[in-house]
Symmetry: C2
Subunit: 436 residues, 2 copies
């Protein structure tokens, strides 16, 4: 029986033209991260499942993780996210490191998803994080990195927005203003997370089941109506939360000193689940009506190292997946065309005798940092130009019996169609022509 | 209980300085492969186990593979090698593609190994392949790629050699000259594979158990004594194998037209196991006495697509792992130092008021393709230079109360210790200084 030629469900084959797209996405990620002094790291593909259980709770472990027992009876998983690995690594070295640490990585991750638009089982994710007392300025910087990244792809405020909240505000509203118990707070976080995806009636039903006082319910609905930073400030001040309002204002003031403000929009429903965040939380949203989805999410956290019994170390970071990013760039027509490779020159010969000169010239051109393709056999004239086109070269050479006799080569510039005949010993002129 | 901070057994954490080494290794691989017009591809992390069973046989499946059953009852494995994925991908597109296909990839692979020097459970491997009638010139080209790669790392013939054989010669010797049965041939391949690792007595014992005629045994030992290309040619001609000698000579003649000949050494024990090779087979060996091991192996094959019921498609390729490569470069002191990151400038301010100007300047410098680190808070003078050193910057700026008053900035070049004070509005001079 013949084997299946298709990739495993929910994963992708990256043929050269798809790989060029991925290389482009990653190159921009790397360049932008490095422009802020972020250093690249990576971790193992497998981690012990305990690491994910400690951080993410049972839901992820049970339903979404690729876990199995290895031949040495270790219960391991293919990494579904990078943060636990990052925390484990930082826990090893944070004592001896000069803070802040600015790190980024673009790992491949696997989750057992039902494949659909924007969701696959294996994807890559840019992770940018700052560790070590980054404070409000660190929160602003991590948003700057995200903004600069999208701008480097050619996107602007017509394409994306940053929906932002602050977990310390949410905590004050739920715990102090609404006087919720721990269980109620937990349920409120779940409700807020879903608020935009359900009808107002469904929302009211869920809220009524939490068992809040009428006053607390009113505060909750007032909170959900907040839709800009001024309103948040006024709401907090009206409710005598001057300190938290001032704290948030520091963030807003710092943000105004950079180019991120025009993208920021306050959104009370952004809480990033029940995750470990303690400061700002945000999601970058595609504004295109056909692709309304989060492209990137992140926030500030007080301590990822607790599970390693290490001292608290504050940080802020985000993750951005390659699949939704590619969809975003395509729907906005921001993705360059990568169908054809980019090479410098195709060396062909029309008579067997041309092989020696071809191999010799190829080596010299490669030593001069050119991308050089040689034909493995004499290539018929009519095949030369179609081949050159498929290989994306800028120049093509021909060597027939005439040229062989005179030790010459014809070089054609495919852009302007100009053709020159040069002596094979005149390497200087050949290089000058191609490198022009 | 605190969690384990160490990575899963046999895998590696890539802290920034290790990641910089890996990035360097991969950048050279990419540049060299692309200089020959090879196009980058990638495949999924997981494949169905059937794919490996079809190609590699039961040994790999049973003992070395990370396999498990997914939640949809599919029996899958983390890729232990790239060739089956490559074959699966090529099988999808070879009919519509212009040949030859020149492809490369640097995937991470996992095998359940007992960790030791040069062997880990997760490693990366450069795979370079040419598909579609590459012939003897394709064999030479793939060796050229490998040689250019090692030379690009600074290695030469004092560091490495290419031990080479031709499976068609081995087949002629075993099947025609020695008249071995299929079972005997299978056993001879296994013996040859081990010949260099065992004593002569052990070898004789194994050979005597194959049940060959005395004449066949003598041919076998004569074959094993062949140690240069001239001797191979003479041996084949003496035994009336003119055609196969001539075929091999074409390869040798092509090789002589390139820079690979000085590295080539005939070795009758190189057969690359019972694998699918049909033409040349080779291993690149480290010449260092402390690190005598294969760094790279490959060969030519007639048909990888058989398992997909596709037409035969010949190819040639090699694989080169990151762990043995790094050991090789380290033992020969060819690896540059990557302990410190490379950044352009650290912007610091000694008075809170300097923040605004710092954020503004940082943005401009980044737009000019510089790697810029800013401090999140006023940095004491005595901390400025130690921080700059750790971050590997070429320049550092200072802004105290004097500079703030005059809207100026001090810029120090850390290489030549020269310091200049420039006006913050004079961006042109600042850029000129840093980009010089």
């Amino acid at each position: 029986m013949a084997l299946n030629k298709q990739p495993y469900r929910g994963t992708r084959d990256f043929f050269p033209k798809d790989k060029r797209v991925r290389d482009y996405l990653f190159a921009v990620m790397t360049k932008t991260s490095e422009s802020f002094g972020y250093e690249s790291y990576d971790g193992p593909l497998l981690e012990e499942v305990e690491l994910y259980r400690a951080k993410s709770g049972e839901e992820l472990i049970n339903e979404q993780i690729y876990s199995f027992t290895d031949r040495g009876e270790r219960f391991v998983a293919i990494r579904p996210e990078m943060t636990p690995t990052l925390a484990r690594m930082v826990a090893q070295i944070h004592r001896e490191s000069s803070k802040p640490l600015r790190w980024f990585s673009i790992p491949n991750l696997m989750r057992y998803e039902k494949p659909q638009r924007g969701r696959v089982r294996e994807h890559w994710q840019l992770n940018c994080d700052v560790f070590g007392s980054p404070g409000r300025l660190g929160e602003v910087e991590i948003l700057q990195v995200a903004v600069e990244l999208f701008e480097a792809y050619g996107a602007n405020e017509s394409h994306f927005e940053i929906l932002l909240n602050d977990r310390s505000i949410v905590d004050v509203v739920f715990k102090i203003l609404m006087k919720s118990t721990e269980t109620q707070t937990y349920r409120l976080y779940k409700i807020v997370d879903k608020a935009k995806k359900i009808t107002h009636e469904a929302l009211q039903k869920m809220v009524s089941e939490v068992g809040l006082s009428l006053e607390a319910e009113n505060i909750f609905y007032a909170y959900l109506r907040l839709d800009n930073f001024e309103a948040v400030k006024a709401f907090l001040e009206t409710n005598n939360q001057i300190e938290i309002a001032a704290q948030f204002n520091i963030f807003i003031d710092f943000a105004k000193k950079t180019n991120i403000t025009k993208y920021l929009k306050y959104d009370p429903t952004i809480v990033r689940g029940l995750d470990y965040y303690t400061g700002i939380v945000f999601e970058i949203f595609d504004k295109h009506p056909d692709n309304r989805r989060a492209l990137c999410g992140g926030g500030a956290y007080a301590n990822l190292l607790q599970i390693f019994n290490e001292d608290a170390l504050a940080g802020v970071g985000f993750g951005l997946g390659d699949v939704t990013l590619r969809d975003f760039l395509e729907v906005h027509k921001l993705l360059p065309n990568f169908d054809i490779p980019v090479n410098d020159i195709l060396l062909t010969f029309q008579e067997e005798g041309g092989l020696d000169a071809t191999l010799k010239l190829a080596q010299i051109l490669r030593q001069n940092n050119l991308k050089v393709i040689t034909s493995f056999e004499a290539l018929k004239f009519k095949k030369v130009f179609p081949t050159a086109e498929k290989k994306g070269v800028r120049f093509v050479t021909l060597m027939g019996s005439d040229e062989l006799l005179k030790n010459e080569i014809q070089i054609k510039n495919l852009a302007n169609k100009e053709q020159q005949t040069l002596n094979l010993n005149d390497i200087e002129s050949i290089l000058k022509l191609i490198k022009a």
